[in-house]
Amino acid sequence: MIGFLQNIGRTALSFLAAIGRITLFTVNAVRWTFLPPYYLKQFFRQVLDIGYFSLPVVGLTTLFSGMVLALQSYTGFARFSAEDTVATVVVLSVTRELGPVLAGLMVAGRIGASMAAEIGTMRVTDQIDALDTLSTRPMQYLVAPRILAGTICLPFLVLVGDLIGVFGGYIVGVYRLGFNPSIYLSRTLEYLEFSDVTMGLIKAAVFGFLIALMGCYHGYHSGNGAEGVGRATTNAVVSSSILILISNYLVTALFFG
């Protein structure tokens, strides 16, 4: 019985310790982002990696999601003769929900994993200690550029993804479901509000921040050896994906109504 309680206590304590570590890491990372020196070269390297090289993945994902969304909503709405809402449903779902979440999850797999692996390798091979020795703060040199780039690039990626997703819906709507192109387009724009797009972009910024934060945090605290780096990578992807889904609800609820 005592042993059982001890176990619960220990788990609770280590959980709280982890929360404390992550909070401290976050505060530090954000603080160092705004203090000089700024490592612009590192920042632009990350922008290229996150913003540019993720375009194909995000583009393909949103394209096919837009396409399937058009088909599925047509099936549904045809049952109560509301087929002409397809264009509106596609554009609202893509901008408010699917664009940010799908792009976020894809980038979490791509960027979160590579950040954790890169920083984790630097940890286990003493490169992070070497940075400290050479009078460069790892938080500023490694973490800050990644977090800033993640937060800035994700909204851009999502904006491009939104356009491609809506285009996917248009292709299916016009060529498969036989909508009139100009009517489909005007339906797309008719009920779309500015706030639908901005809400998606705010979500994207939050997701980008979380992905980079988790990638850096897990890499920075990576255990020893190849095994430690492997675990850091997995943890980065899993934790950022979960955080994306949770924060997605929170942001939506915040703007609801």
């Binding site: 003493d126 940075l131 009078s135 460069t136």
Partner: protein, 271 residues
């Protein structure tokens, strides 16, 4: 020169003074009270069996790992438990090589070598490249190497680049973690020469970890041996052979049988 007169009046203050430094990892006591004094322009070599805590000692000295207790002073200033600014200012006076190189994979050799000069002192590109060529040719590497990346070099070459990075901006205190292991004897000799030079000519203070007794005899003024988390012997290199301490004797003469091996076997038996 100015430095000389300054330290002349205060010869009593050692360059580095470690007292009762302890460090444990999750109940495993690695350092149990390291006491070590290093005077300016002295070269000390740390010896001891594998896993005894030599690398940890160097990392504690730089604050890369925070020691649990004790005192670490550099020029009389306490650095254990001090604020970040003091620690960073202190680190600027150090150069260190790590046991496994720790070169930055994503940067070419010349940027590795001149990392601190580029970022701290804003040295321009041309000067930095010239300096990188100067430094690595001293270590017997060809100038073409500067545009390659660490992964393209052999282990021994990486080791020399790491050494070049540590000495490029001529720090006052140099820490070398096994600088010659994995090198051929000729290059090892070149590196020993370089460490001696740095101490004698630049007036640096050096702490080197080494397993190679021939090289220890060449580079060290003083030798300190770590065993069971404490320094069991520290003295001039000339007295290393007649300490009368069985552990030191066994280590220095590389004998397979002796108290070190018996202790290791005991520990293995106990699990």
């Amino acid at each position: 020169m100015a430095k000389k007169t300054q330290t002349g009046s205060s010869t009593a203050v050692p360059k580095i003074e470690m007292q009762g430094v302890m460090k444990s990892f999750g109940g495993k006591h690695v350092l149990r009270g390291i006491d070590l004094i290093l005077n300016a322009e002295e070269s000390v070599t740390l010896i001891g069996t594998s896993g005894c805590g030599k690398s940890i000692t160097l990392k504690c000295l730089l604050g890369l790992i925070t020691a649990d207790s004790g005192s670490i002073k550099v020029d009389g200033t306490e650095i254990l438990g001090t604020d970040r600014t003091t620690l960073e200012a202190m680190r600027r006076r150090f150069g260190m090589t790590f046991q496994f190189g720790a070169l930055f994979d994503s940067l070419p050799i010349w940027e590795n070598v001149t990392f601190r000069l580029r970022h701290q002192q804003k040295m321009n590109r041309t000067d930095a490249r010239d300096l990188a060529v100067d430094t690595i040719t001293q270590l017997g590497l060809s100038p073409q190497v500067i545009d390659q990346y660490p992964a393209e070099l052999s282990g021994g070459m990486q080791k020399r680049v790491a050494l070049a990075r540590a000495i490029a901006d001529k720090p006052e205190i140099l820490l070398f973690d096994e600088p010659t292991s994995g090198l051929d004897p000729i290059t090892g000799g070149v590196i020993d020469r370089l460490i001696i030079d740095a101490v004698k000519r630049l007036g640096a203070t050096a702490m080197t970890i080494s397993h190679d007794m021939a090289s220890v005899r060449r580079i060290a003024d003083k030798v300190a041996m770590i065993h069971n988390g404490v320094i069991i012997w520290c003295g001039p290199v000339a007295e290393m052979d007649e300490t009368g301490i069985p552990e030191v004797d066994q280590f220095v003469h590389g004998r397979a049988e002796g108290p070190l091996t018996t202790a290791a076997k005991e520990e293995a038996r106990r699990g």
